[in-house]
Symmetry: C2
Subunit: 253 residues, 2 copies
C-alpha cells in the first residue's frame, strides 16, 4: 500500500437497456463503494450503447486516463453482446476461443447444453487473464488495466469480490456524516467558510426532506482521518449555532 | 415532428456523492424514458465529479455531439454546487445574478430567509432561459441545447415535465417485450439469425432468474411499428420451436 499516490478508476456501463430506461444500473454504486474500501477512487462513469466504435473509443480514452477501468455488460451469449470483441479491437489484439475459458464451460455444461451461443462466452482477446465466475462459470477477463465484467449485478459482484484484493490501492477515503434539520440555504454560508478553513477535507452537502422537514446530510471526506476530526468540531459548532442538532450516521460514504 | 431524423441526447450526472456510491442515481432512467416518449434517444450518460474543468470539457464535448444535453446536480445553495458557474464558462458567458430568478426567489422566501446561500441559486449564465421549478422555486435553466437541472429527483422531474413538450423530437422508439423461460445460451443462436433477417429492428436479450428458473426478456425495438410486427412472428415461432412459451409484457421499453 502506497500512502501518497491516489489510485483512480472509471466505469464503462455498456448496454442499450440502461439508456432506454428499461433497466436501472446498480453496478456503479457497488463498485464505487467496494473500490473506495481498497483506496481506489471512482473518478467517472459512462453509460454507453452496445456500439463497437463507442466501446473502442471509450475504453481507449479511459484506460489511458485512470489506473483501472471496469466495464459491465455485453459479455453474454447473445448477438447483442459485443463488449469482448470490442475490447480486443481497442487493444489491437486478436480475438478468439480462450482454451482455459473453453475448458471451464465444457466442464460446466452437459454435452447437450453446449451451444454455439454458450461457447461464445469462451471468446476473449488473446492473452486475457480470466476472472473467475463462481455463480454461472462464464468468466470475466482482464487485459492490462481493463477489467471486463458482466452486467447482471449478482454475477458481477461475485467476480469482483474474487479478484479485488489483487488490485493495488492507496489509502481509502474515510468519511463522517452528520444529518441536521437545517435547510441548505441556511447552513450554506457557514459551510463554505468551514470548507475554506479546511482545504484538506471535502465537505459535501446533500439536501433531504423527512417528515415534512427540510434538512441536509453533511459529509466530511478525506483519506486523512486526523483532518476529518479537525473539521468535525467546526461542523458541530456550526450546526449548534444555527439552532440545530447533529445526528451522526454510521457507515455512509 | 420530423419522421426521418433521429433526435439525440446525453446526460451529465454531476456529483461526488454518485461516484462515492453514497447516492444511487435515479435521473438517467427517468429522463431516458421521458425523452424516448418524445422521440429523443438517450445516446450516452456520464457521471462526473464536482470538478469545474471536467464539467466544462464534458458539456462542450456533448453539446457538440448531440441535439440535447441535460445536466443534473450541483445547482443548489452550497459551496459544492458549482455546475451553473461551470456551464457559463463552457459557453464563455458572463455569470451572475439573473433578475428574473432573483424575483422568483425573493417572492418565495420570507425576508429573514433570504440568505446569501439561497440567492446563489439566482445566479445563471447571462442570457440563460429559466426553467420553472414548481416544487421549490429555484429554477433550472437552458443555454442553447444544454438544460441544467437539479439532482433531487422529485424536483428534477417536476422541472422536466414543465418544459419537455417544447423539445423537438422525432418518432418515438416503440417496443414489444416477451419473456420466456429459455436460457440465453439456448435461444442465442436463433436470436442472432432473427436479428440478421430483420435489420430494421433492434433485438435485445436480457437474462433473468425467476423462481429458480433461467429465462430471457426479449425486446424488439424500432421507431417503425410495422417492422416490429414483422419480426414479432419470427420471435414467437423461435420461442415455440425451443419448447418455450412467450409471455408478453405491457409497457416496458
Amino acid at each position: 500500500m502506497t500512502q501518497d499516490r491516489i489510485y483512480t478508476a472509471a466505469l464503462l456501463v455498456i448496454g442499450n437497456e440502461i439508456l432506454s430506461g428499461r433497466t436501472q444500473d446498480a453496478n456503479l454504486a457497488y463498485l464505487a463503494s467496494g473500490l473506495n474500501d481498497l483506496g481506489i477512487r471512482m473518478m467517472e462513469a459512462r453509460v454507453i450503447r452496445d456500439d463497437e466504435q463507442t466501446i473502442i473509443a471509450d475504453v481507449n480514452q479511459l484506460r489511458g486516463r485512470y489506473d483501472y477501468v471496469f466495464t459491465t455488460g455485453g459479455i453474454g451469449p447473445t448477438h447483442d453482446d459485443i463488449t469482448s470483441a470490442a475490447v480486443a479491437k481497442a487493444f489491437g489484439l486478436e480475438f478468439g476461443r480462450n482454451p482455459e475459458a473453453e475448458a471451464i464451460l465444457l466442464a460446466h455444461y452437459k454435452p447437450e447444453e453446449v451451444t454455439e451461443a454458450r461457447m461464445k462466452m469462451a471468446e476473449t482477446p488473446v492473452g486475457a487473464v480470466l476472472l473467475d465466475n463462481p455463480v454461472s462459470r462464464a468468466p470475466g477477463f482482464q487485459v492490462e488495466n481493463v477489467f471486463v465484467l458482466p452486467g447482471v449485478p449478482v454475477i458481477m459482484q461475485a467476480i469482483f469480490e474474487g479478484f479485488k484484493h489483487q488490485l493495488a490501492g492507496g489509502t481509502p477515503v474515510q468519511s463522517r456524516t452528520f444529518h441536521a434539520y437545517i435547510p441548505e440555504g441556511e447552513i450554506g454560508g457557514g459551510l463554505a467558510k468551514l470548507q475554506g478553513l479546511h482545504p484538506d477535507v471535502e465537505i459535501g452537502s446533500y439536501p433531504f426532506i423527512r417528515q415534512g422537514k427540510m434538512g441536509a446530510s453533511l459529509v466530511i471526506r478525506s483519506a486523512d482521518t486526523a483532518a476529518i476530526e479537525r473539521s468535525t468540531e467546526g461542523l458541530k459548532q456550526l450546526i449548534q449555532s444555527l439552532g440545530g442538532e447533529a445526528f451522526e450516521d454510521g457507515a455512509e460514504k
